[in-house]
Homo-oligomer: 353 residues x 2
Amino acid sequence: MLDVPAVLGGDRRALARLLTQIENGTAAAEAALAELYPHTGQAHLIGVTGPPGSGKSSLVNQLALCLRRGRAAQGGLPARAPASVAVVAVDPSSPFTGGAILGDRIRMRDLAGDPSVFIRSMASRGSLGGLARATGDVVKALDAAGFDKILIETVGAGQSEVDIARAAHTTLVVEAPGLGDDVQAIKAGLLEIADILVVNKSDLPGAAAAVRALRASLDLAHPAARRWATDSTGHHGPALGSVVARPEPEAGAGPWWVPPIVATVAIESQGLETLLDAIDQHQAHLRATGELARRERERLAHELESRLRDQLLAELRDRLGPLALDAALNQVAAREKDPGSAARELAAQALRL
Amino acid sequence: MLDVPAVLGGDRRALARLLTQIENGTAAAEAALAELYPHTGQAHLIGVTGPPGSGKSSLVNQLALCLRRGRAAQGGLPARAPASVAVVAVDPSSPFTGGAILGDRIRMRDLAGDPSVFIRSMASRGSLGGLARATGDVVKALDAAGFDKILIETVGAGQSEVDIARAAHTTLVVEAPGLGDDVQAIKAGLLEIADILVVNKSDLPGAAAAVRALRASLDLAHPAARRWATDSTGHHGPALGSVVARPEPEAGAGPWWVPPIVATVAIESQGLETLLDAIDQHQAHLRATGELARRERERLAHELESRLRDQLLAELRDRLGPLALDAALNQVAAREKDPGSAARELAAQALRL
């Protein structure tokens, strides 16, 4: 049995057991999640994504360390209280093997032994949407267990990023100089889900060009950003640890957010405090504008719909039996009936019962 | 109205119109697909995937050119008849914009004006699984329209690759030297969906190391490959255009396939004939072993299930009305009810009506 009070009380072993059950999709996990659900909604969910080679894992590691440490007020910067941190590392490129495990071990060197840090790697279970669902449930459990900040990292580029954007409050898109020709194309898509753009490895040649390219893309997406960038940062390269292009809201312009570009060198801990400030600012923005509630509702609507689909398909299987589905599949495979017609007929048949 | 006989007769404008309707998910497209479905199942579907920077688009371009041209028998190699070719370029990293269009234009320079080549770019429409469905339907239409070879290319790494593997008969995974640290991790996942491994840009430094790394991974996955690699190719680098590690079936070993590794330089047209031979061999293998029918059935089972889910959800919406879903969502957003319980109750309610 899963011990829900222990999870709520911060018992790591109980939490780990629950996460395993969630990954395996057991009925016990479902029941525990229903009990935990009223305790969710407290954590700040931070998604971290970007192409291979951008150094996402190192960045997540260093962010976790900085968040744990907190910061005293200094030089006009506000203090930041030490936070408890959970890391969920999702590897959708590893559909059949546990490829995320190695990264997990590497992480543990930096963060092991800290009771306020919890790390979980997840690999896809092969089913479309299954990983997104399981990740969402793991995040819920960590949220209910009381972690202040939950960093959700994915490898890869594609639909999985969009799903992360759905699951996180604040989405970081990480780039690095010199990742190859196709990267431009990826940027176009990722830009639209980014709340904060990070140019990591910004000590490498090409960092200034990478920032310029991102800024140009931002100009297209957010015309107001252009004005600001030209006025204040039009001529300098990526100052390490500085927010390169964060426009201030204009008087009367209403609540809006243009993704800032932050230059970092994660493995040398450069730029991380600035990045965390940008994350805090985004969280404050979400709260002040009501965007937090809007994103939350959209995410939950999506989850509810996805669960309904599963529930209804399970009911259909129960009602018609496996032979009905097999018979339909035989007709489709023999090209006697197209998949769309077969689905419509099966649904109608199940609903008449 | 969509002119199905014209599509079957090879009318490009009728085909283009149908594909647009498929992308928009219209009822007319559904009806046309039902009519076209008995004419599908003739084309060889070839998936091409791999990380950003591997040069997939150039490779697909060049493969299309070689397939169009065909080959006379020479030097012990069999002749290959000229084939009609369709290219479907899927960009799941571009969920909101038409980012694939630029690549499309670049392609057109090489292939424009050839009536036996058809190129279509697709960007995601934002819905989870929606792109995979639309791609499958576009491929069906091209299949029914009589194209011999359909090349399906995706940008990105992740779940979308698994879905391609489901949709294609033969899946090429493209790598290139020096794509960064994370690439190793991606290889682990992509390796398992690869029927043929391509090391493109193999004139770059690090090509031999890339081939060695892939071969080592193959050794782990297919112990028989190790024997062969040690015997025959254990000591040389990636010979351009040579199949670097294709073990022959052993006597009594039964029908099996170990992914060959083919070194190419797509932009200089090197290695492409060898790659096409490997593709032909894989097709022959699929036919000889019955694997073709097995893959087809698995793909159709997946499609049927996905359509059933959509169908049932649409029925539920009709039965309960939008207010019931909204009320449930309000309870979930207020954390009065968890999404799993809400879905179960809505499903039960709809099925009682």
